[in-house]
């Protein structure tokens, strides 16, 4: 239908304004898209529906300026936006309709909330006059999403849209980032109003994105560090979110302090850096866990002492003085009591600290880590990476990926054994390369997140490492890969089990394997039906060639590797145990 009225609605029209200036008359929908352009958004992940149709109608005229990726499920859309945010360092953007469209976002919001990922999600909502009437596809989205958003807001009047979206982008991306949801009623999307342009938000009086750095705290921290004999650094995603990788590297190189990472901090420091001593936590490396309970000064940077990192808290680093650098004041002393809190953005605090610390080397102390590494290699790593039996291990697959991508790939992982193995063994040369669902542990995250990760880092190879269980949770996104021709490499490590749960059942539930033997379809045939090339292997002799083919293939590729059914991930800090009680087998 192309009559005069619809055309008029689609083209901004200059109208006289009370100020005497000529201003454009736009619809609420156009104002949303204008805000995106002003914020530098280039990619939207979304799915249309009744209550968001005016926005999609406006998008029709903006398709040359805004790329829209049609996903197959809103959960896929939001995970894709998360992947985009994690590899690009920018805010991910999502569209969903009201009711089920909006509720399908909830898992992704919770994931982004706990992993501090900046997102702006726009949901359509029923007409304002229908709110509260159980209208078709009406859900109270603002209240449903309150605990899983950094901020949310319902717009019922289009004139609010420019300022609300400016606030949304500011809140999502500043301070400790997080997801923001803006619910816009259909009447507001359709409503025309005099548009006075878009002004980015730089200040909200009730919102303090970062605390002021207090010099005296930095000085106290430096004193502690200078006096320390066995200092130990733990770093998390705060280093990446603060874009402080260089500052962090300068700090550790001057102080010579061994540094270990949380799963989300991985790739902030190159894996083969001499001071990178490995991974913390439940399936982390031997040395970092044991020596946490031996260090004299523990320096935590942009991490939040999650229970998977600390194990039993009352036996965690009790001997150590704790310096905690974090941008979020509510994280200080939440789990581990600090001796010196250093509130602030580590981009600012780290250089201040670097200036005050003495140049040192901690050779003997570092050697302790290396000695534990030697023991771990002997007991676990060597056999995982160079198995002698015929059965393929997850570790050797990751090692092959490392070799063939030179550590330059973005590795997106799902949740479970393969995730821990990938985090343990993947090699990274650059930051923002490891994308995984850390805090929430969302199975089904990897495939859609890999799609977004590719849009966020289009020049890089993106490998999604996924288990056979998690893949089946969001495999509908193969449709998105097909339609949008997204070049992601899908590496399914198939052990024909829900492996991590099986491992726990074996170790802690007398091998009572309760509903973990999951069956899978023919993944290669499935990929083929989406026009995606694929291959399945179960022989070591085929491994290198198959991974090479996957990486070199022009376009997306699915490689299934049949790995050992009952392999376990070790080392392991059993739940309820101290980090120093970590088991090698």
């Amino acid at each position: 239908m192309t009559n005069a009225t619809t055309l008029e609605a689609k083209t901004p029209k200059a109208i006289p304004h009370s100020s005497g200036k000529q201003v454009d008359e736009v619809t609420g929908s156009q104002a949303v898209l204008e805000a995106f352009i002003a914020e530098g958004v280039d990619t939207i992940f979304g799915y249309p529906g009744g209550a968001i149709m005016p926005i999609y109608d406006a998008l029709y005229d903006y398709h040359d300026r805004l790329k829209h990726i049609l996903v197959r499920h809103e959960q896929g859309g939001i995970h894709a936006a998360q992947g985009y945010a994690r590899t690009s360092g920018r805010t991910g953007v999502v569209f969903a309709t009201s009711g089920p469209g909006a509720t399908n976002l909830v898992t992704g919001l919770a994931d982004a909330m706990i992993d501090s990922t900046p997102l702006v999600c726009i949901t359509g909502q029923v007409f304002a006059h229908l709110l509260g009437t159980d209208a078709f596809q009406e859900t109270d989205v603002v209240n449903i999403t309150t605990p899983v958003t950094k901020w949310n807001y319902q717009v019922t009047d289009a004139t609010e849209i420019p300022s609300v979206l400016a606030k949304a982008f500011y809140i999502a991306g500043s301070g400790r980032p997080g997801p923001v949801l803006i619910d816009i009623t259909k009447n507001a999307q359709l409503q025309k109003f005099a548009y006075e342009g878009y002004t980015p938000c730089k200040h909200i009086r009730s919102y303090r994105p970062k605390p002021i750095v207090r010099k005296e705290f930095v000085e106290e921290a430096a004193k502690l560090i200078n006096a320390a004999e066995k200092p130990f650094i733990l770093f998390g995603q705060g280093v990446i979110l603060g874009k402080a990788e260089k500052e962090f590297k300068a700090f550790i190189e001057k102080t010579g302090i061994p540094a270990a990472w949380t799963v989300l901090g991985l790739s902030a420091l190159p894996t083969d850096h001499p001071l990178n001593v490995g991974m913390l936590g439940m399936h982390g490396n031997y040395g970092p866990n044991v020596l946490t309970n031996e260090c004299d000064v523990l320096i935590a940077i942009g991490m939040r002492f999650d229970d998977r990192v600390t194990g039993r808290l009352d036996k965690y680093a009790k001997q150590a003085k704790v310096i905690h650098l974090d941008i979020d004041p509510s994280e200080i002393d939440k789990n581990v009591k600090s001796t010196v809190p250093v509130w602030g953005d580590c981009k600012e605090t780290l250089p201040m600290l670097t200036q005050l610390v003495e140049k040192k080397e901690h050779k003997a102390w570092l050697a302790r880590f290396n000695e534990y590494t030697r023991q771990e290699v002997e007991a676990v790593i060597h056999d995982e990476l160079n198995p002698t039996s015929d059965i393929l291990t997850m570790g050797e697959v990751i090692k092959t990926v490392n070799e063939l991508t030179n550590g330059d790939a973005v590795i997106v992982t799902d949740v479970g054994q393969h995730q821990m193995v990938a985090c343990r063994y993947a090699k990274f040369n650059q930051s923002k390369s490891n994308v995984t669902s850390g805090g929430l542990g969302t199975m089904g995250f990897a495939l859609p997140a890999a799609i977004g990760a590719k849009f966020g880092a289009p020049d890089r190879t993106v490998v999604a490492v996924i288990g056979d269980g998690g893949f089946q949770m969001t495999l509908q996104e193969l449709g998105t890969i097909m339609q949008s021709e997204v070049n992601v490499k899908i590496l399914i490590l198939n052990n024909r089990f829900l492996g991590m749960v099986r491992q726990w059942q074996q170790l802690f539930h007398d091998k009572r394997y309760s509903f973990v033997d999951i069956q899978s379809p023919d993944f290669v045939m499935l990929a083929k039906s989406y026009g995606i090339a694929g291959k399945s292997i179960d022989q070591r002799t085929d491994l290198k060639a198959a991974v090479t083919e996957m990486i070199n293939h022009n376009g997306s590729f699915l490689l299934e590797v049949m790995v050992g059914k009952e392999n376990n991930v070790f080392p392991m800090v059993p739940q309820g145990c101290s980090v120093s009680e970590i088991r090698l087998k």
């Binding site: 901020w151 004041p329 509510s330």
Partner: protein, 196 residues
């Protein structure tokens, strides 16, 4: 250390949905809110929540920080009973014919500082303001006369040591906040914090 009563004062923007955002932070930790009041504050446009809970101080401290982290919350404080001046109000409805006959009632009202708000032929409504024990004492006293309805308001509280929010708000409104805005237990108690 045991659980004790804390009064939490939260200065906020007046925003739809903020009550829910604050309330779920308590329910998430399975903490019962004993009393909750929302009202204007000493500053025009700034809202004030007064929330009473029974908890360990450790929990309350973390909770208050997380409340303060919410985008539309300006500032949150927690105080023990000794640190505040507080009042609650109660209304009591009793049958007029019964109390009219009893001379004692007048003395009773005087004793509890209560006054009649409405006197009708069929019922009378009394009102009193004070601490919990006083309000509850009057319930007991009125019960023999046939208490028809009773209702008690949430607690409202003034922080004894507070200088009000006017000056603080000015800081919040500036783009670059001054150092005095940032106040926390470490800055206040530095000697205890640095345990070296």
């Amino acid at each position: 250390m045991s659980k004790q009563e804390f009064t939490i004062t939260v200065y906020t923007e007046n925003q739809i949905g903020l009550l829910n955002r604050i309330a779920i932070m308590f329910s998430r930790r399975k903490i019962n809110i004993e009393s909750l009041n929302t009202s204007p504050s000493e500053v025009d446009s700034v809202h004030r929540f007064t929330i009473v809970i029974n908890e360990f101080e450790e929990v309350v401290r973390k909770l208050v920080r997380q409340i303060e982290k919410q985008v539309e919350v300006l500032k949150a404080y927690y105080n023990t009973e000794e640190e505040i001046v507080w009042q609650e109000m109660a209304l009591y409805k009793v049958p007029t014919d019964v109390i009219a006959e009893k001379v004692k009632v007048e003395r009773l009202l005087h004793q509890y500082g209560a006054k009649a708000v409405v006197i009708r032929k069929d019922y009378t409504v009394f009102e009193t303001t004070g601490h919990r024990e006083e309000l509850e004492g009057l319930i007991k006293a009125l019960e023999p006369y046939g208490l028809i309805e009773f209702v008690r308001s949430a607690r409202i509280a003034i922080i004894k040591a507070s200088k009000g929010f006017h000056e603080k708000l000015k800081e919040f409104e500036e783009h670059e906040p001054g150092e005095e805005v940032i106040e926390n237990e470490f800055l206040d108690k530095q000697d205890e914090v640095f345990t070296m």
